[in-house]
Amino acid sequence: MNDSTPDVAPRGALLVASIAVALLLLGWLAFYVLLFLPRGAVG
């Protein structure tokens, strides 16, 4: 076991990363549902 590994996960970093990923997912969903799907089906 590496002695330099922290015993406690950095909660602030986790929060920032979680917010960033949540915004990414919301942005993707918004483009998909509000822009892509209304443009109609193709095949």
């Binding site: 076991m1 015993d7 986790l14 979680s18 993707w28 089906a41």
Partner: protein, 177 residues
């Protein structure tokens, strides 16, 4: 397992869940809307397009099929679409069949998901249904030479009840005013 390792496992699980959500959304909506990339593979001789077969001039434009759907045939060539003005009905299955007489072109209807490459020697086919009447721009979106920027056509979508009854050989092109 130390704290850092546990956090990494939790984060990896969250990312897998995220991918699962995105894949589920894509698969469910694709199946529900019959939404998929156009994948027609059909060959044709680009040297004889204008002489005989499906893409002779008299057969280009919108044609009414026996089942009520509409098939639109057009040719892309440096630097125009033939015909450069099309008319289709709204709320009707529409099938675009397009091929190239020379180099690679692009077929894109702005504000819709209609989008395919037009490769000489192949017939590209895209099926869609327009829900909103109006005029849609159709630019070539694959660089095809010096006149590429001027290669545009227009598709006018009119209400279904205003679309004329075309006979078996009737073809409709422009309805712009």
């Amino acid at each position: 397992m130390d704290a850092a390792e546990r956090t990494e496992w939790h984060w990896m699980a969250a990312m897998l869940a995220l991918l699962g959500v995105m894949m589920t959304v894509i698969v469910v909506t694709s199946l529900a809307h019959a939404l998929r990339p156009p994948s027609n593979v059909e060959t044709i001789d680009p040297d004889t397009l204008h002489l005989a077969g499906e893409f002779v001039d008299s057969n280009l434009g919108s044609a009414r099929e026996a089942d009520g759907s509409v098939t639109v045939r057009l040719i892309a060539q440096q630097y125009s679409f033939a015909p450069d003005c099309l008319t289709v009905p709204a709320d009707t299955p529409v099938r675009f069949r397009i091929t190239s007489a020379d180099v690679v072109h692009g077929f894109l209807l702005i504000d819709t998901n209609v989008n395919t490459m037009v490769v000489p020697g192949f017939v590209a086919e895209v099926r869609t249904r327009f829900t909103r009447p109006g005029e849609y721009a159709l630019p070539c979106h694959e660089f095809c030479g010096l006149g590429h920027h001027a290669m545009w056509a227009h598709v006018t979508v009119i209400p279904r009840d205003q679309f004329p009854e075309l006979g078996a050989t009737g073809r409709l092109r422009c309805a712009r005013h």
